[in-house]
Symmetry: C2
Subunit: 332 residues, 2 copies
């Protein structure tokens, strides 16, 4: 049997458990040119919150009654004359929250398990790593000596953003919630400064951590953090809008009231969607893997076990009870 | 005697008449290397509202008790061995709201009255023209075929922005308040579409006027207009933040709640300050004057008479009771 998670409701604020429901189907049989993938890992991403809204954003909404969209890593258990993949291949792609995925292989690619563990292919060598790499280099355009601030700094994207900025010679300040995360960023990842936003002194702490202002800000959270950072940006500063996790479950989005700081400082705020760089993923994977090999870049995954624990694991994205990439291991 | 307007208060919301006070001093005598300029024209600009706030923005605040800052055009009535200017020269610069300005000439430049009337040197060939030119070309980076929206479209900056965009082959939509302005934009300046925001259907009107979305938005007003435009932008759209006249007199600035449209659309919001292009003003003046000569670009000034009418004329900036460049003629 194939256990699947279906989208049942479109929540306005925070999704409740009955937003989704499990179902089981007979495990399907691949036909000519098809694959059956047994999924091992399900990726949990803040973007999931947006995908269940009715409105199309940068990607189609998940339809009610459909399997919940998710990035996956799994193994081909059956292939019927597939031109590209064979049984045993480990594939990354959009497999959805289910144990088995039947597909023609479109949107899937083979991962190199000798290069790194499958989990790492879902984190630093996967979508979060790609987002960090192209976001901070192509949109943030960091230069050596810049003061770079990143929010959601202990997350899958933020932690890689900060480490890349360190590698490129920047002074890196991370904003995260709680002592454990701050300790991790400073002691394990070598961030220059960390700010625990939960301590409630963001404005003051930011001033102290960035005495010479902020050149590049990589925003994963939006809301009050973005608004406060805007008061400390330098001339020609660049703000990368990657996400706004503080706002995804709000009925009304909080806009940055200090946006006129962009005018005063001739600064830029630019949005990014990682898919635009799809053709260049291989180049990023090579570079990120190289940095990992050299010990300059650390990947961290927070893995929970069992497809039935999807909802409580999903909640960790927003409660912040996780460090690094949040993954559900459903291999059993 | 030299009548001068001094800044007396720092208003939080809309400035009242006693924000400023007139005084008179003995008309000063220029000494070695100095000039005395008799001012003819005083420029009224929305930016004045920002200059009287306590906080430094892109320029120092006007100090309490100081002559109110203003752009001016006037004639040198006395020059004592000045290396650059002589009696009779018409000079543009920061003369302030006063009848006579004593100066060493720094920050002033001679205008060519054969090229255009002094009023035009204060509008389309002056700061508003420079702002429009560099803002829409260098920051907006318009390309032929783009749909360009400009707010404050009947203002000194907006009207030139729209006309430059037309010259460059764009489809131009102006947002302005009231029938007279809309008629002027469409019939006199040849805008493709105009929207009267006072009719209260901005969202619907914008959708109708921009069926293929918005590629470039030049924002002079902020607030609800900016927020609404954000819902209609295209992929890779560019938003030029030039001003936010709807917000200057508000205690709390309204941030753009739809700013995540920047993310979804990989769009950019960038602030500009015209002073950054000072070295290139001459190139813009030549080009704008050429377009005027060819009949492609029209300049319009709204002139009121008498320094004693400063306050009521200033109020027109925010009530919208003016078209084009607002000028106070104090030549008498």
């Amino acid at each position: 049997m194939n256990k699947q998670l279906l989208l049942m409701k479109r929540p306005v604020e925070f999704p409740s458990e009955d937003t989704w429901a499990f179902t089981e189907e007979q495990t399907p049989e691949p036909r000519e040119g098809q694959l059956l993938i047994r999924q091992h890992l399900i990726s949990l991403d803040p973007a999931m919150r947006g995908w269940i809204n009715a409105s199309r954003s940068y990607i189609e909404a998940v339809e009610l009654g459909d399997v919940m969209r998710a990035g996956t890593v799994g193994q081909v258990v059956k292939a019927v004359n597939h031109p590209k993949f064979k049984e045993g291949d480990m594939l990354s792609g959009w497999g959805g929250v289910q144990q088995f995925t039947l597909t023609d292989g479109k949107g899937f690619h083979k991962i190199n398990t000798e290069l790194a563990d499958p989990k790492v292919h879902m984190s630093t060598l996967g979508m979060p790593g790609m987002t960090a790499y192209f976001g901070i280099l192509e949109v943030g355009k960091i230069k050596s000596g810049n003061t770079v601030v990143v929010s959601g700094a202990a997350g899958a994207v933020g932690s890689v953003v900060g480490q890349i900025a360190k590698i490129k010679g920047c002074r890196v300040v991370g904003i995260a919630g709680g002592e454990e995360k701050c300790h991790y960023l400073k002691e394990d990842l070598g961030f220059d400064e960390v700010i625990d936003y939960k301590s409630g002194n963001l404005r003051k702490d930011l001033k102290k951590a960035c005495p010479e202002g902020i050149d590049v800000y990589f925003d994963n959270v939006g809301g009050y953090t973005l608004d406060t950072v805007l008061t400390r940006i330098n001339r020609q500063a660049r703000i990368v809008i990657c996400g706004a996790i503080s706002q995804y479950n709000e009925k009304a989005i909080q806009g940055p009231t200090n946006y006129l700081s962009l005018l005063v400082n001739r600064a830029t705020m630019e949005g990014m969607v990682v898919f635009d760089y799809a053709k260049r993923y291989p180049e990023a994977v090579v570079q990120l893997a190289q940095w990992m090999k050299e010990g300059k870049l650390k990947s961290r995954e927070d893995v929970y076990v069992g497809i039935e624990h999807f909802y409580e694991t999903f909640c960790r994205l927003f409660s912040g009870e996780k460090i690094g990439k949040l993954i559900l291991d459903i291999k059993q």
